[in-house]
Amino acid sequence: MTPELVVFWLLSVLTVASAVMVVSTPHVVHAALWLVVTLGAVAGCFLVLTAEFVAWVQVLIYVGAVVVLLLFALMLTRSPASTTGATSRNRPVAAFAGFSTFGVLAVVLTSGFRGIVLDLDSQPDQLGGAAPPERIGDTRSVGEAIFTHWVLAFEVLSVILLAALIGAIVVSGRVRDRDRQKAAAGGGS
């Protein structure tokens, strides 16, 4: 058993255990904090799989931004800490759906990719014609790939982010204005 396999096993156990806590803990804030553990463990898996830049982006954006956004939303919606986090009554159906999804995926992936061994030390192939990067997952090689071959997708993605930004402002800001107008007109409900 190689060291990276041992580390990946430990990270797998941590990921699955904390993900189960995310979907099962009755405290909503605890769910967000367990989500931090899950996302951090997935970032560790990326590191073991030599995707170094992706791992740090995961830490920055997911652990840094998305979880903070979720915590803000939990506090703005003033969720009572122990009641609205409870699971709904269709829990057996949800458990069945989750287990069957896992079962189907596991059977398909096992039958398709059994016996393939990842080589974490090799260099990339030279089919692209470009000079091979030093290491496959570091910042330089990923940046070169994004800003040469994937630059159009990158620009489209920035437009999508702008659209989502405008959409979030429009969706979350309109109600208060309308209520204020209604209250100013004397017809507030």
Partner: protein, 108 residues
């Protein structure tokens, strides 16, 4: 390292995410289940990228795109949840589905 190990981890994560989306009553917690599923997909992409050793780094670049799209999705989703809370006073998706209140209670 066998390729199957990250694949099985990602399928377990995806199943847990499906369970979380379907079983949680709080809309924000349902969005956390969506995040778990997106992480499972990202793990799959990275694993296949490491297996194929593509010189264009397709899997890792797509993983970065998925991260950015997830950030956009969570921002928009939380805006919708906040609007839902202002209009109905709750984020309990079961209550929202059961009551089917036609006119929202305007919170001033």
């Amino acid at each position: 390292m066998p390729l199957l190990q990250p694949l099985l981890l990602s399928s377990a994560l995806f199943g847990i995410g499906v369970y979380g989306v379907l079983s949680r009553r709080n809309a924000v917690l349902a969005l956390m289940g969506v995040e778990l599923m997106l992480n499972a997909v990202m793990l799959n992409l990275v694993a296949f990228d490491v297996w194929l050793r593509d010189s264009l780094l397709t899997g890792q670049v797509f993983t970065l795109f998925v991260i950015a799209l997830a950030a956009a999705e969570i921002g928009l989703g939380l805006a919708i949840v906040l609007r839902l809370f202002r209009a109905y006073g709750t984020v309990d998706v079961d209550a929202l589905a059961d009551d089917r209140r036609a006119d929202p209670v305007h919170v001033t």
